[in-house]
């Protein structure tokens, strides 16, 4: 009569103690997998590590040939290894006037500098060598100024980085919350009731994801100009909310489909109203799905480039187009671009790590049937 087993989405996974899994050979298999997994992580993260290394390089070191991989602090960490005595032609160490060996940097090494981070927060101007010398002797400059002075630059004022970063936080944060909230409501309705033309609705919602951004940009640009919300936070928040809704509805519907209807029905019998049942029964059950959806929506809104490029100019401009257009005088300032990218990456990584327990169980698209 009743179903054989009613397993809710949050029921614990029962560990089995199968003989074939505790056998030494099976254990060895797990060790090998762990090693392979670590190798994969190393390969996958190499570009990110390169990004991180670039943040602490000077401008010439960033584009040095051959590339430099090992950071050291002058007179500190790793400097013993990185500074090697220079050799004469006959193989003896070269000595200076005081009889001390002359040291030189290994080709793989670069000394750590904070040029990138200072350059990111401040606007800079190039000095003539005479000015540089004069400024270096002046005591009124702080440590940040001195880092740039060494490279012949002077700080002229704060950069717009803080402003762009705040825009990203406001726009991506708010739109993620809205997309998940609206998506949850719609997904619940689609999951629990037979709505006329449901498959068509759902396909329509998905199809909004298929539009190349360039297609909708022109009409939206014209519309925003008419409404006066071009280059405003509210305009970007609504736009990102809409573009996340399709993913949010699909992900959450898949997840809600797996929560047995009977839970709410029992709650309804117990005298809860539909809204109470939704709030007190469904919401706690859906926490995992909501967490996973939040991560995906955040990643999209946080990193979106094309819309922001075409629909903002200054007030609401977010980080991605700002990073893309970072240029220095005569060539790219890789350290600054890298620092901006790393700082920009941190919030998403933190949130993903905080919610990582939910990521696996939360992404089902309703494809898992009990």
């Amino acid at each position: 009569m009743a179903r054989f087993e009613e397993v809710g989405p949050r029921s614990p996974i029962i560990e089995s103690t199968r003989v074939d899994l505790v056998h030494p050979r099976a254990r060895l298999g797990v060790t090998i997998r762990a090693i392979v997994a670590i190798v994969i992580v190393a390969i996958m993260l190499f570009p990110v590590v390169w990004l991180a290394l670039t943040t602490i390089k000077t401008r010439p070191d960033a584009v040095a040939v051959p590339p430099k991989f090992i950071p050291y602090f002058p007179d500190g960490l790793l400097s013993d290894w990185c500074m090697v005595p220079q050799l004469n032609k006959d193989g003896t160490p070269k000595l200076d006037k005081n009889g001390q060996p002359v040291l030189k940097e290994r080709a793989e090494c670069f000394d750590v500098t904070l040029e990138g981070i200072v350059g990111l927060f401040f606007e800079r101007r190039t000095l003539t060598p005479a000015q540089q010398k004069q400024y270096m002797e002046s005591p009124e400059f702080g440590w940040a100024d001195r880092i740039l002075l060494k490279r012949g630059l002077v700080i002229t004022g704060p950069s717009d980085f803080v402003n762009r970063f705040r825009n990203s936080l406001i726009i991506a944060g708010t739109s993620t919350v809205l997309a998940v909230a609206f998506g949850l409501l719609a997904a619940y309705a689609f999951s629990r009731w037979d709505i006329k033309g449901k498959p068509d609705f759902l396909f329509f919602i998905l199809s909004t994801r298929m539009l190349p951004p360039v297609v909708v940009t022109i009409p939206i640009f014209l519309m925003y100009r008419q409404l006066g919300i071009y280059d405003t936070h509210i305009g970007m928040i609504l736009l990102y909310t809409v573009f996340n809704l399709s993913l949010s509805v699909w992900l959450l519907k898949g997840f809600l489909d797996e929560i047995p209807k009977e839970y709410e029905e029992a709650a309804l019998v117990d005298g809860y109203s539909r809204m109470q049942a939704f709030r007190k029964v469904v919401l706690p059950q859906a926490a995992t799905g909501i967490a996973a959806t939040t991560v995906f929506c955040l990643i999209f809104a946080w990193n979106e480039y094309a819309f922001s490029l075409m629909l903002t100019s200054d007030v609401a401009r977010t980080m991605p187009p700002a990073i893309a257009s970072t240029q220095g005088a005569g060539g790219l300032e890789w350290a600054i671009i890298a620092t901006a990218s790393m700082l920009f990456l941190i919030p998403v990584v933190v949130i993903t790590f905080a919610l990582r327990q939910h990521l696996l169980r939360g992404v089902t698209f309703g494809a898992i049937r009990q």
Binding site: V30, I195, V214, V215, I323
Partner: protein, 310 residues
């Protein structure tokens, strides 16, 4: 038992409807915000650009759109270059989605086993997809750089021996594919993992009792159980591959020549560079949209059939 509970619930619910908000109202209230937003931000732009696709119009000139009928569509469809770009995009989608699927699935099979720190390692693998595509494009261009880039150096080809990956028409598309695969294999892995985690253990226990080989277990249990989620991953990645824009712009800008001129890049070029041909761009966009919708429809049909059988 379930049936009676449901019936009771229905009765109770009906009794309550007098005092409380009815289900119908809730239904409407729940769906309305989503629908309103989608209609305003998607239906309106869609119809507007449909109209523009039949006109000669440019956003930068002040002149109003001039109706030209199907001329834009005729021009695009009779241009052999456009077909070349479609073929290129198809090849790009096939290569990158194919590789992502294989690599993502293999990675999922490896980190599937629980060992100390496996959750942490899984999350570390996800980091590439958290990066902004623009940043990814820009930084990979640096990594590929034939003089100061670390890739050729690590491959043991210091300058001037190493190839310039992005400037060589033979390699450029592969270079873009590699970056796309690097960035999005983790996504496929994540979806595969959630499929793998949901496979009931008793299936494997039964197979172990029957002394079924590991190969047999893979083909008969693992693969069919993961297939629906794998298909969803492929669906989303295929849609994205046809829209691929940010990374290509960061890496090659469509070059060298037109070796990596994907349709989204071409679309951008028509719409926002040169003459700002909004009319032609809209028509072109519609053709792209129709192709994506057709492919997605095929996928979803197949997916539904898979689910029906599972």
């Amino acid at each position: 038992m379930t049936a009676t509970t449901a019936l009771q619930a229905e009765k109770v619910a009906q009794r309550r409807q007098v005092r409380r908000i009815s289900d119908k109202t809730i239904q409407t209230a729940f769906i309305l915000p989503t629908m309103m937003l989608l209609i305003l931000w998607n239906i309106f732009p869609l119809f507007y650009s449909l109209y523009l696709s039949f006109t000669e119009y440019s956003v930068i000139t002040g002149t109003p759109p001039r109706w030209v009928g199907f001329e834009n569509y005729r021009n695009i469809l009779s241009d052999p270059l456009i077909w070349k770009y479609f073929a290129l995009t198809g090849r790009f989608a096939l290569l990158s989605v194919g590789l992502q699927t294989i690599i993502g699935f293999v990675m999922a099979m490896i980190v599937r086993a629980k060992f100390r720190g496996s959750g942490f390692i899984t999350t570390l693998i996800l980091i590439p997809m958290m990066l902004s595509p623009v940043v990814v494009g820009k930084f990979w261009a640096m990594i590929y750089n034939p003089t100061f880039g670390p890739l050729n150096y690590l491959l043991g080809m210091p300058p001037p021996r190493g190839p310039d990956w992005l400037a060589n028409p033979q390699f450029a598309l592969w270079a873009v594919v590699l970056v796309d695969v690097w960035m999005w294999s983790p996504f496929v892995m994540l979806l595969c993992l959630s499929g793998l985690k949901a496979i009931p253990e008793y299936l494997y226990e039964a197979a172990a009792i029957d002394r079924a080989s590991a190969w047999f277990q893979f083909w008969r249990i693992t693969l069919p159980q993961v297939a629906p989620l794998l298909m969803i991953a492929i669906l989303f990645r295929t849609i994205e591959a046809f829209k691929q824009f940010d990374v290509v712009m960061g890496l090659t800008g469509g070059g060298p020549g037109d070796a990596t001129e994907l349709v989204a890049v071409k679309l951008y070029r028509i719409a926002f560079l040169g003459r700002f041909d909004t009319g032609i761009a809209s028509a072109f966009a519609y053709i792209v949209l129709i192709i994506i919708v057709a492919i997605s429809n095929l996928y979803i049909r197949y997916l539904n059939r898979l689910r029906g059988e599972a």
